[in-house]
Subunit: 130 residues, 2 copies
DNA sequence: CCTTGAGATTCCAGTGACTGGAAGCCCTAT
DNA sequence: ATAGGGCTTCCAGTCACTGGAATCTCAAGG
């Protein structure tokens, strides 16, 4: 398979696949003409990566997860630990965003949004207590 | 004021303040010794930036917001528009994270996390239906 | 007067995970 | 023979800092 077909079938853009090769996540063989020659296992790996990235795992986590996936002696506890840590990070981000969201939506609601300069959003940013 | 004091009073690290000067967000004067000489208005601006960044506004949004803050002829509608757009972006990110969170927490719950290799998390990433 | 240490300066490089673009090779079809 | 599409590499840019090195300035102590 050439990179175009793999990109289509894995849903990962060619540029990204080349980048993944650069950083050693996949190691496709080469044809005589210099083109990357992907096997089914490469495609499989890339699809794995696509799903892991879609769940928000970092590239380094993905590298580790791929390693565990290919390690028949893994312990599921190792995988679970990574996932739990990531889950905690996601929870933290959600909490942060919700805190921002809360403040911001209050401010938006309190702003007239008309043609006058008076604006509670700017007042708040300037440090004036509501 | 030297950069250290401004950093302390604004809560923004010296490195970041220098960076903000680089990109033209603040323009402190200079003392004879080459040190940056901040006035109260500079401190005020930096505090404004700190709060805007804490609400997740991009640097470019911050630049615009600062401009509007200093423009006596602004219309609050301009400010509100920026804030609403940002709020929408935040909502989108939250939704994304919550979707990840949901999938991930299901997977984590279904994984034994013991010393055996069998792992539903890896199975899912490998594309095997639950 | 000299030294020491803290705090200031500039500049360069790296972060994460790609993405865009340019220049050029390869292959197939007309 | 040529046109096109796909492939190759390499370099640069994104966003918002952050770390580190080398150098300078200043105030205090011996």
């Amino acid at each position: 398979m050439n990179i175009g077909e793999v990109a289509e079938r894995s849903g990962i853009p060619p540029k990204t696949i080349r980048y993944y090769e650069d950083i050693g996540l996949v190691r496709p063989q080469r044809s005589d003409n210099g083109y990357r020659a992907f096997r089914e296992t490469d495609l499989h790996k890339l699809a794995f990566l696509g799903r892991a990235r879609a769940l928000g795992f970092s590239i380094e986590d993905c590298r580790t997860l791929l390693g565990l996936y290919e390690d028949e002696n893994r312990e599921s506890a190792q995988v679970k630990a990574i996932a739990e840590e990531h889950l905690a990070a996601i929870d933290e981000k959600i909490a942060q965003l919700q805190s921002m969201r809360s403040t911001l939506s209050h401010l938006v609601r309190s702003c007239h949004g008309d043609d006058l300069p008076d604006c509670p959003i700017l007042s708040d940013l300037a440090g004036n207590p509501a």
